[in-house]
Symmetry: C2
């Protein structure tokens, strides 16, 4: 359905049920809105001129106005093509400042068994095979394992070793199944080396039950996915917070905590408990008994991996930042406290460096970066923004110490993307009046990462802050004022908030964001320069991670967090770590490629990488000191906007 | 030193400290002795004619007699060459019935590292290697494992995988050792397949501490040996009872107990506790901290193996007698309750069949039967006599259900070889008066296996029982009488015993022994016939096991328990199971041969083997129904003895 915003003449595609206010902000159309979308401030009044919307009426709107088509944008949802008019200040209609060029990023397809099958790669290392044998007699009383081996040989399968537990369970499996037994076989990564492991035996035919779980152990959240390796189906996905948060928000504070007496054990247990909680939810939601699961794959950053495995993480944070290992052998899930059967091995994704871990390797593998000719920039953004540049021939990676700004850290009213966090924003350049959208459409409580980017981008485009991040304190709006920490912009007055005080963005907040985004951008540049390339050579950008998913690309480019590339060169991949875990469980050929990825990735320690500090300094500008060459389109638009504002004001 | 027994003119070699009574009986010279060697019955009076002995005086000997050289044989020990005269009954001096031909079995050399070194086979799979590396820097911050791998590569070692625990311990090992680390490396059986496992890392140089334990888990006893793999030295050996005895004397009763609720767990725990007790004794005795041990090897019969590993043993005792497996993968000692460090793998000897287990395989391997051209009969005698026949080209094996007679079971006054058990015996054919030697030289309490053989052999040679095992009730001695269970021979009168009642051997006892020895002999015959050979083709016999060690060969042949072969064709090997465990720990090439041995061994189920029942029936004679061909020398001696007795009596 089409929604047209007048007087700007901006038209966007929408889905039934979309909210008008959200659509307007996404389209770069400003509508004043103070309460985050809760419908209480009454400021987001619009006129429905053609077609109709659902809802949008309020006690703030008189019967007469309602009759004339007035609605609250934050309460109106789309049901058909509609044209709405926004009451604007003088000049605003001419400027239409925020209206952005069309074009948007791709969302990566959820790679499932269909794609793998099409590529001939749906081929899990874990398989089940049912075999039968004649019962033993005095003339043929070979042992139970020998009987199974000869039945497997008849079925064309060879080169087996038995896990102890399979031997232990075999006598009753043969007899309970009346000499029919299903073996669960784990093939080695390289079938020419190593042997097939029989990890489980069950009486009778259970070949249709072949399950695995993929686990993404993140610093903040834990995700698990139940996979049916028989059909290739994703049976379910669940996530929850990582209980380690109680011991510290980021990896550094966890490493510090691990050094305390009993710290390691507590952190390990918190991780295991969190995974178990998610597995429990997954089992409940899908109705699948997890005693049927036979494989787990797990990825996390290097710290999460070492803490889960109980490997001393201290050296990760001390120069020269040495991880214990790249590769870990498969470990028994039960040995590490997971509520999974004894026979379940966990394949742990290898790490490249202290701050480039298995989650990044999983993501890179998941998106197939190592099999593409295109020069790709892979970004997993968070406290540590992990960055990988390269293609099928080479890869360079680094961790950028972005700091916690994207997670609300170091920002006066910063918070996680929880209920009441401002996540989208727009500003009227003339009045300085804002439009806020909050998570859950609740009264604002603070600012989350995507909100911060939206706010700074909007204020920059409106000339309320300049390229150095300084506030234009001469602006007529009373929202601009001198606060405790210097100049600040009041996002919401106390009465409109859920915290009963003025919620503002300060100059130090802007500085923090600029440092964070500068760290990221400098990382891209440094990696590329390290191999003699530049930003201009990039052919595509892949954004992974939960935060990556919620970024508005235009705004992130506007402030210089992401490189200026046509938006269709961007791909959102979501949880790349979980994606990689799933693919490894579903495809032994892909699993075999993981080692090559790690070996291919050259890690740069940015703190000692030549040119990094220069790049960092140059990036501490909005969008960049070299905007003219690195961000030519942004540079042009910012100048256009300045000129338009000047003209309108005149 | 020489000891000459008159009037028989028998001369034997002896060591200082040997007891005269023991020497006489070993030489087949009869001296009356009722009290088992305690010195209280006063019957074993002898005259020292030349030289002197230590001790031998008693209140039973008058001062005058003492002056004349009279001593008690049971209290006299050898200090120099001596000639003693034994007071004999009329005729006895002419008959000298029991004096046996010279010749004795070999005792197998304790195979240690010297022999292995001489053969180029001292080459433990477990080795230690100390390597050093430069400390990491920002320019070279490879992970700890990568640093170790490159140091190992520089030392010429390749193809490694790391056990998880080694990775876990590596960060502190590198740093505590100031970038010197000792790796404990476990090589695969076949170095062309598989990879070297790094199972442990320690800071600094600990290469001189490379220890293993060999464990023999027997039904009755548990033995452990501490091995220094650096020097090849046997540091110590300890043994104790298997605590499973409380749940049943033999494997069958243990299997039955295992089926009770909690039975398996109790039996597993009893075995683990017993091993731990022995390991504790070994650690205490040798002063070695067992946290330094890095490898365990373990052998037991199939039931002991399955109970230790917690593998259902039920099917071992039910027709068609199917074990769970031949081969088990190496298992973590700590996972099975052993007080050994986490990194210790236990190599468990494979089994051939339900009643031919890892202990037999270890023994066969230990004596090198699979590398010898000589047609060898290997016997491990116990409740189940395990028998292996073959050479380097082939091997056939079987378990003979000898029953518990050799362990005192089914014998009226039967007992284990504990204090007070009659272990040696001789009889005066004319008077029927016995000479008893008991374990610990205590008053007699019962009869152990070796005593039973000695008694029956002596009574047979004296004509007191006949070839069918029937008592000659017409013998003038009052020790022959009709008892509760039919004819019996009183070994000791109540007053001379520790049990206050007449201690006798009954005809049913003799029947039981005959059945047991017939089962053994029929097994040898059946296995040989199975491959178209006969007893006459045998080139050597190897006796393994504690009971094997205590057998008097001449007497065992006399009753038909062992085949008639020159005694120098016999070898006592002692604890073959422990020997095999030691060799496997000390020699990877020998370890590699174990699989071949198992594959080479064809198991015969005697109960369905053609000819077995005929052989069994034929063997239920003393020594055999076909004595003339199978036991020609024994046959000749028995006939000579009969004639001599007849002549002397006349």
């Amino acid at each position: 359905m089409k929604v047209r915003f007048e007087p700007f003449g901006v038209e966007v595609e929408s889905q039934a049920g979309d909210r008008l206010l959200d659509l307007a902000l996404e389209a770069g159309v400003h509508i004043n809105a103070s309460c985050g979308g809760e419908g209480v401030c009454g400021k987001c009044r619009i006129n429905v001129e053609e077609g109709s919307v659902e809802g949008g009426l309020s006690e703030k709107i008189s019967a007469e106005d309602a009759e004339a088509g007035v609605r609250l944008a934050c309460q109106s949802t789309i049901i058909e093509d509609v044209t709405v008019r926004i009451p604007v200040q003088s000049g605003m209609d001419k400027v239409g400042l925020n209206a952005l060029a069309a074009g948007s990023a791709q969302v990566a397809k959820l790679i499932g068994s269909e794609e793998l099958k099409a590529e001939g790669r749906f081929d899990p290392s874990l398989s089940k095979l049912m075999v039968s044998a004649p019962p033993p007699s005095l003339e043929d009383n070979r042992n139970d394992v020998a009987r199974l081996l000869s039945a497997l040989k008849q079925a064309g399968e060879n080169h087996f070793v038995f896990d102890f537990e399979a031997i232990r369970d075999l006598p009753s499996a043969w007899r309970d199944g009346e000499w029919n037994v299903t073996t669960t076989i784990n093939r080695p990564v390289d079938p020419t080396k190593g042997r097939n492991h029989v990890i489980r035996v069950e009486p009778g035919d259970t070949t249709s039950k072949n399950l695995a779980v993929a686990i993404d152990l993140g610093t903040t959240t834990v995700w698990a996915q139940l996979l049916d390796l028989h059909t290739g189906e994703i049976v379910g996905t669940e996530g929850d917070f990582n209980g380690q948060i109680s011991f510290g928000e980021d990896v550094i504070s966890r490493i510090v905590y691990a050094a305390k007496p009993g710290g390691m054990e507590k952190l390990h247990k918190a991780a295991a408990d969190s995974i178990n909680k998610v597995l429990g939810q997954l089992s409940k939601r899908t109705g699948v008994d997890f005693s049927e699961v036979s494989l787990a794959t797990l990825a996390g950053n290097t710290t999460m991996t070492q803490l889960f495995l109980g490997v001393e993480p201290k050296w990760l944070r001390l120069e020269p930042y040495v991880p214990s290992a790249a590769y870990y052998p498969p470990v028994k899930a039960a040995d590490f406290g997971l509520d999974l059967p004894d026979h379940v091995s966990t394949l742990v994704f290898p790490s490249v460096a202290s701050y480039v871990g298995g989650d990044v390797v999983a993501g890179v593998m998941g998106v197939g970066m190592h099999r593409s000719e295109a020069l790709t920039l892979f970004i997993d953004m968070g406290t540590n923004g992990e960055v990988v540049v390269g293609n099928q021939d080479w890869m360079a990676c680094a961790a950028a110490s972005a700091g916690p700004a994207f997670e609300g850290g170091g920002i006066k009213f910063g918070m996680r993307a929880a209920r009441g966090a401002i996540e989208n924003f727009s500003v009227d350049p003339f009045t300085g009046e804002p439009a806020l959208i909050t998570v859950g459409h609740a009264k604002p409580r603070g600012i989350c990462g995507s909100g911060l980017i939206a706010i700074v981008a909007s204020l920059l485009m409106s000339g309320i802050i300049d390229e150095r991040g300084r506030f234009n304190i001469d602006h007529p709006s009373d929202r601009l004022r001198e606060g405790e920490d210097g100049p600040e912009y009041v996002l919401a007055w106390a009465k409109d908030t859920a915290i009963d005080r003025d919620l503002a963005l300060t100059e130090p907040d802007v500085d923090n964001l600029m440092r964070a985004k500068a760290a990221m951008y400098a990382a891209y540049m440094t990696l590329l320069e390290g191999v003699g390339l530049t930003i201009h050579d990039l052919e595509r950008v892949i954004l992974a991670g939960g935060f990556g998913q919620s970024i508005n690309l235009e705004r992130a480019i506007l402030i210089g967090l992401l490189p200026e590339l046509p938006l269709d060169k961007y791909t959102f991949v979501g949880n790349g770590s979980l994606l990689g875990c799933r693919l490894v469980a579903m495809s032994n050929p892909l699993r075999a490629e993981v080692g090559g990825i790690v070996d291919q990735m050259t890690n740069f320690e940015l703190s000692v990488a030549p040119g990094y500090m220069d790049n960092y300094t140059g990036s501490q500008f909005l969008p960049h000191t070299e905007a003219k060459t690195l961000f030519p389109e942004t540079y042009r638009r910012l100048n256009e906007a300045k000129a338009a504002l000047k003209e309108a004001a005149a």
